[in-house]
Amino acid sequence: MNFDVYKIRKDFPILDRKIYNKPLVYLDNGATTQKPACVIDCINDFHTRRNSSIHRGLHYLSEQATESYEAARKTVQEFINARSSREIIFTSGTTGSINGLALSFGEKYINEGDEILITAMEHHSNIVPWQMLCERKKAVLRVIPFNDEGELLMDEYEKLLNDKTRIVAVIHVSNTLGTVNPVEEIVSKAHQRGIPVLVDGAQSVQHLEVDVQKMDCDFFVFSGHKTYGPTGIGVLYGKEKWLEEMSPFQGGGEMVENVTFEKTTYNEVPFKFEAGTTNYIGAIALAEALKYIDKTGKQSIADHESELLKYATERIGESADIKIYGTAKDKISILSFLINNIHPYDAGMIFDKMGVAVRTGTHCAQPVMNRYNIDGTIRASFALYNTMEEVDTLCRAIEKVRSLLS
């Protein structure tokens, strides 16, 4: 397929904006991505003409809405190649997915002295829910370290796996370093001991082909708003056997089969995990975003973003006063760096006034910053609509920061 970034940019209305009278250069896609017009129109159209609560009413609008919602589930299933749409649970986002999983999985399978294994490059959302679980259950959180390049130490991983390990929870692509972790190998090593694996795909599913069957992970989570969809919607994929065994993480309407004051029986998978009125418009708009990615072509997107990262790494990295954090062999879409001893906050302020949006700080991954003994970094993160010219603007912004602060 012919990938024309300038044509693609026309699909994203916000990219036309001027910030302080300068063209917006949006390089904060790791935090959230912008939305194509088809997603915005979908949300608008649903509210304007199609809105009705799902799964409850018998009337026309409700049936149509339910159908769209279940079609969205099917779209997600196909997007990550799950076996069945019953394995797709809609949540509020990656954080909601992991918290729900930690509650339900933890309640059933975690006991005192058990171990939960994560990596040292997790986003806080894949640390704190497990820490809270450990506190409740007197379980132990163990951490797989990584090297200076930002690659997991797989030998250490194998040493950490033991008879007490109950679950392994790993970030697929580091939101700070860009490292693509070898999740298939991680899963296979864990499965040799019968241990399930959660893969946090918040920074992966929008950039590379994800096939949960090939990966063979037990759980996979991601957010709508980082995949060109709306905020407040996300996905928890789980192998059906786990979802059948686990109890719901929230109680309420829709997730039940039968309710009396003595006893409630739960609805079937996946509905038992979707209590209350779900964010059905979010789910439907997310499906629209995933279709947009499919239509654009996952491979074309990956190739384009890989060129952007390569160009940015070469141009920015060639200066002696710049240190890049995260130089793994397998790396995508994210460039974390520091300019000399300039504080990232100062740099971010100056970038902002040049219309360049980047993230500065710890990126919700303080342990990564501690590993390198730094306060934070400047992070440029790329999406399918970014251009080489925008990388050039970023370089000019770096030049400006240098001239003001060095």
């Binding site: 504080h343 100062d346 934070g376």
Partner: protein, 143 residues
């Protein structure tokens, strides 16, 4: 010594000379050198006002009815704004500090630096200045 509001007007006039944001930042970066630096022995967690991004340290001395501030920050633009705040508040009585309506930040276009989501510690810094004033006011009024 000038009144607090006279100094606020001075600052507004100084910044009025700049049309361009970069010039404002350049000026703030220059000003950052004027901050009376906190004694290294006070540059510890007790005096740290922690934002998510830049760190700020603040210390207060009370002398003859007036409060004198010293501070530091690891980000220079933040430190430049601190220099302005210290220019306004240092050497004042607790009552003067408590009764100040701090309006210059808005007027020079730096308001975004003080929003609660802006985690540079400046909002907490101003609050801490007022806390010192309130504390000294109570301590020495009663005494």
């Amino acid at each position: 010594m000038k009144e607090i509001n006279e100094i606020q007007e001075d600052i507004i006039n100084e910044f009025g000379l700049f049309d361009d944001w970069m010039d404002k930042y350049e000026y703030l970066i220059d000003l950052s050198r004027d901050v009376p630096l906190i004694d290294p022995k006070f540059k510890n967690n007790d005096h740290l006002i922690s934002g998510c991004q830049s760190k700020v340290w603040l210390h207060a001395d009370y002398n003859d009815g007036r409060i004198y501030f010293s501070a530091d920050s690891n980000a220079l633009i933040t430190k430049g704004i601190i220099a302005l705040l210290i220019r306004i508040f240092s050497g004042r009585t607790p009552e003067e500090i408590i009764n100040t309506d701090l309006y210059f930040i808005d007027r020079i276009g730096l308001r975004q630096n003080l929003s609660p989501t802006r985690s540079n510690g400046l909002l907490a810094f101003i609050k801490q200045i007022r806390n010192y004033a309130v504390a000294y006011n109570i301590k020495y009024k009663k005494g």
